[in-house]
């Protein structure tokens, strides 16, 4: 291996690692606020990517009907769960969020999709179509479970992944899609040729991280989310609605997932079930970071990205094996450091 190959592999790893970092951040966030280990995070990536690919080729994405369906299900589910409490204003807000919002997005897509409204509009549209699915799914699958154990929530998340993969097949079909890159620019830096898409990915990732940081540090809503993450009961006692915190956390997860999908679909062909493997890398990173540390997760994600690109160079058939079994020594290390985990829920 010479220096230029080394640098290319590092570059590749860092670009992929940036995406994994976003996913790892969102996993840590969702776990902290809701105690859900969101195995289904990858589905939002796949759906986001496929939706953008469809829009970028002037097609109407099937995802809008999935969005409508999930909105309807969330409306019915919410109505049923809170049939005694929901009246007037709350009912209206619920209907606006679960019925009017998807209807507006569907209408906008039907109008804009055939007209090729440009990259910015198409990116925004793709993200807008996929993002609300996550909070709808939270309402349907997780909110009724209330104070269930982490394990029950995890099994639910896996079940959700299963159902979403099947739904992905129904709404996107078995073929994979790829979108044209955001820009054809190519930057030469020594031996490296950095494609415009990579710059987009790194730039948007960085911007998003800064945005998240500002959100959690500066805004009241962000602080409320952090409070919920530290102590759910305490947060509820001071008047923070923890269910809404869950909806918000899932909204962020959906947004990050969808955006990640939009960013990678010009780089690689995305299939309806391809999100799982991408999400799982975010997972590996989140676990290496200890499921609690944001900087730790980001650092670990970059490591996972680089490890992946090097192992695909040396032993491409065993790239997945190497990336995922790397988790075992990490767990061993945590286990030795952590001592006896006699925690009870």
């Amino acid at each position: 291996m010479d220096l230029s190959i080394f640098l290319i592999l590092v570059q590749d790893g860092v670009v992929n690692g940036a995406i994994y970092a976003l996913l790892a951040l969102s996993l840590v966030l969702v776990f902290a606020v809701t105690r859900v280990i969101l195995v289904a995070q990858g589905e939002f990536v796949a759906f986001g990517g496929l939706t953008y690919a469809a829009l970028a080729t002037g097609q109407t994405p099937g995802a809008i009907w999935l969005l409508g369906g999930l909105g309807l299900a969330a409306f019915a589910g919410g109505l049923w769960q809170e049939r005694r409490r929901m009246r007037g204003g709350a009912l209206l807000r619920h209907a606006l969020f679960t019925l009017a919002l998807p209807a507006a997005i569907i209408a906008a897509t039907l109008v804009l999709a055939p007209r090729r409204a440009g990259i910015v509009v198409e990116v925004l549209l793709a993200v807008a179509i996929v993002t609300p699915m996550a909070p709808y799914l939270y309402r349907i699958a997780f909110q009724p479970l209330g104070n269930a154990s982490v394990l029950t929530l995890l099994i639910t998340a896996v079940a959700l992944h299963l159902a979403l993969t099947g739904l992905g097949l129904v709404f996107f079909g078995p073929e994979g899609f790829r979108a044209p890159p955001f820009s054809d620019a190519m930057i030469l830096a020594g031996p490296l040729m950095i494609p415009g898409q990579a710059i987009w990915i790194l730039g948007l990732t960085l911007a998003l991280m800064l945005g998240l940081y500002a959100f959690f540090e500066k805004t009241l809503t962000g602080k409320a989310l952090r409070a919920t993450a530290v102590n759910r009961l305490g947060a509820r006692l001071v008047g923070i609605p923890t269910a809404q915190a869950g909806v918000l956390a899932f909204g962020l997860a959906g947004f990050i997932g969808a955006l990640s999908g939009v960013l990678i679909v010009p780089l690689t062909t995305v299939y309806y079930d391809g999100g799982f493997m991408i999400g799982l890398r975010g997972f590996t990173a989140a676990i290496i970071g200890g499921l609690g540390s944001y900087p730790g997760a980001v650092l670990a994600a970059l490591l996972v990205g680089v490890a992946e690109s090097f192992s695909s160079f040396w032993a491409s058939a065993f790239k997945e094996v190497i990336v995922f079994t790397a988790i075992i020594p990490v767990l061993l290390w945590r286990s030795l450091r952590h001592g006896n985990g006699e925690d009870e829920e």
Binding site: L151, V170, T325
Partner: protein
């Protein structure tokens, strides 16, 4: 006394009868095959009953473990011409080794790490199977020999049926035996009672590992049956998706019940087969559409029937346990000489961040006395208890017991020294009867290995443990409640059950955390009598209590704590007159 065991045997009788099903004239071969798959899945699901329903852990890698067993025997019998019967022990060994590796690195962490670890490694192993030349990559291995019995090759699906359902029977029996043994009680105590179990000497990390390895071995066994029935193997049935299906079976059927595993396996296998027929026609294309149905089904079950379907069919009722009152008694400790120093606590300290919960506490405890630890709410009494018993680790100071250093030792080590305790928030296992809960207290006085339990070689010892549990229950006056579910008792009585459990350890020192809370007046009097009698028999008692009347009439000496520090130490009358104590309890009189 009802006929013991008979009620428990009917599911086994059903399985035995089911062995005749494929020989019914006119039985379509298709149904026999489907039932074969049901049987194999049921074995995996029974393993998950132990792991998930009873042990409170989960694995998303059972299909991969099945694959490990399957590939091991496939390679041995196809490439090395060894008998499939040799592939069985080898396959079990390989799955056990794999599970030990993944289990050992996760069992000390919070429960969900095992689940996450199994996701990662099952994906990893799946790609290993799919890319390794040795195992034929994605094509797998075909032409694997069938099982042979006395030179007769079991090629007929009906023959496989008999073998597979014998396997189910074996797995169910072994699991029932295991759960009824000393090791099994430890597994059952994991869910909701891990801290209590550790306080009675159960090594909870090893017990978690045991549950996982046991479930893996059953999966490996299922893999062996699968390969020699199917006679070919490829990576597809060993992926993540299949693992979720096994979990679905266990959860739908009722993850805490063996018959539930059979029910779940049958339901999912049959429904899966139907859906694979119907859904592609509905959607007009081939694909895993059934995953939508299964995913939604799993979510629905977790929301509406989290205990699965089996409890809706049969209600939980602990069986009556026959006690062999004449079983030889367990060996007992020699009590230390009355008046000798038993426990020394020197400058014991515990900080939580900036808060000092226990601030340089000193006291000693002499053999044969009853010492009361009292103080207002938040004085640090329970924290002190947890520091002595190894549930929590001190930030500083020394705990010495019978001359040996106990500071910072784990709870099970403390228990092994002859220190038994009860809990302020009662920690009994709800799915076990009163006497089964009490028997956990005698964990360290038995030695039977899990394997002995599995093979029923532990009966003599187990009878002695149960006889001891029955004696201690009688001693605290709850003999009549022995076979009731533990949490059906009133809270005050549950505290007494905890005392019986602690006595089962044969303790030198008994630590009681608010034993009289929730008791009625005459029950308190009985408790006082019991504790005095224990003292007279040589047991030393340290108790935390709020009920002043109860404490004053009972203890030999009092230690008063407030805001983590010791206020007073002495006989009850002297302490009662101490102005600092009065101020702490009644507020300043200035």
């Amino acid at each position: 006394m009802t006929r013991p065991g008979l009620a428990k045997l009917w599911p086994l009788a059903c399985i035995a009868l089911a062995g005749l099903v494929p020989w019914i004239p006119g039985m379509p071969a298709f149904w026999v095959t489907l039932l074969n798959y049901t049987g194999i899945a049921a074995i995996v699901a029974i393993g998950l009953v132990v792991l998930t329903g009873i042990g409170g852990m989960t694995s998303f890698g059972q299909a991969t473990l099945l694959g490990l067993g399957a590939y091991t025997t496939a390679i041995m019998s196809k490439y090395y011409d060894l008998s499939p019967w040799l592939g069985l022990p080898a396959g079990l060994l390989v799955t056990a080794a794999g599970a030990t590796l993944i289990g050992a690195v996760t069992v000390r962490l919070s429960g969900h790490y095992l689940a996450l670890g199994t996701i990662a490694w099952s994906v990893g192993l799946y790609y290993t199977f799919a890319n390794l030349d040795l195992v034929g990559r994605n094509d797998g291995i075909s032409g694997i020999p069938p099982l042979e019995v006395a030179g007769y090759r079991l090629l007929d699906a009906r023959m496989s049926f008999t073998v597979i359902w014998l396997g189910v029977l074996l797995a169910a029996l072994a699991t029932m035996n295991l759960l009824d043994s000393r090791a099994g009680r430890a597994i059952r105590a994991l869910k909701g009672g891990a801290v209590a179990a550790a306080s009675f000497g159960v090594d909870t990390a090893r017990t978690r590992l045991l549950a996982f390895v046991y479930s893996a071995v059953l999966a490996g066994f299922a893999g062996w049956l699968y390969v020699h029935m199917q006679r070919s193997v490829n990576p597809t049935p060993f992926g993540f998706y299949q693992s979720i299906q096994y979990l679905l079976m266990a959860v739908i059927g009722g993850a805490a019940h063996i018959p539930g595993a059979l029910l779940g396996a049958a339901l999912v296998t049959l429904v899966n087969d139907r859906l694979q027929d119907i859904l592609p026609k509905l959607f007009g294309a081939r694909g895993n559409y059934e995953s939508i149905v299964f995913g939604m089904l799993l979510i629905a079950v977790l929301q509406w029937a989290p205990d699965g379907l089996w409890p809706l069919i049969a209600r939980f009722r602990p069986r009556r346990r026959a006690i062999q009152a004449d079983a030889p008694r367990l060996a007992a400790q020699t009590m230390p000489e009355r008046g000798s120093t038993l426990l020394e606590v020197v400058r014991l300290r515990r900080n939580f961040g900036g808060l000092v919960a226990v601030n340089d506490i000193d006291f000693t405890l002499k053999a044969g006395e009853i010492l009361g630890l009292i103080g207002p709410n938040g004085a640090g009494k329970s924290t002190t208890f947890n520091l002595i018993t190894g549930v929590d680790t001190p930030s500083g100071g020394i705990v010495r017991f019978r001359g040996g250093d106990l500071t910072g030792r784990p709870a099970r080590h403390v228990a092994a020294q002859g220190i038994a305790r009860t809990f302020q928030h009662v920690k009994l296992v709800p799915t076990m009867s009163v006497i089964e809960n009490v028997a956990i207290g005698a964990h360290l006085r038995g030695h039977a290995s899990p394997l002995a339990g599995l093979l029923r070689l532990d009966r003599a010892e187990d009878a002695r443990l149960y006889a001891e549990a029955a004696r201690q229950l009688a001693r605290v006056g709850l003999a009549d409640a022995a076979d009731r579910p533990a949490t059906s008792l009133a809270l005050g009585q549950q505290r007494i059950v905890e005392i019986a459990r602690a006595l089962c350890l044969d303790p030198v020192l008994l630590l009681l955390d608010e034993p009289a809370a929730g008791l009625r007046h005459n029950e308190k009097a009985e408790l006082s009598t019991l504790l005095r009698r224990l003292r007279d028999e040589g047991v030393t008692i340290l108790l935390v209590e709020h009920d002043m009347e109860f404490v004053m009439g009972l203890v030999d000496r009092l230690v008063v704590m407030d805001f983590g520090t010791k206020l007073a130490d002495g006989p009850p009358d002297a302490v009662r007159a101490d102005p600092r104590v009065i101020e702490a309890y009644l507020g300043s009189v200035e």
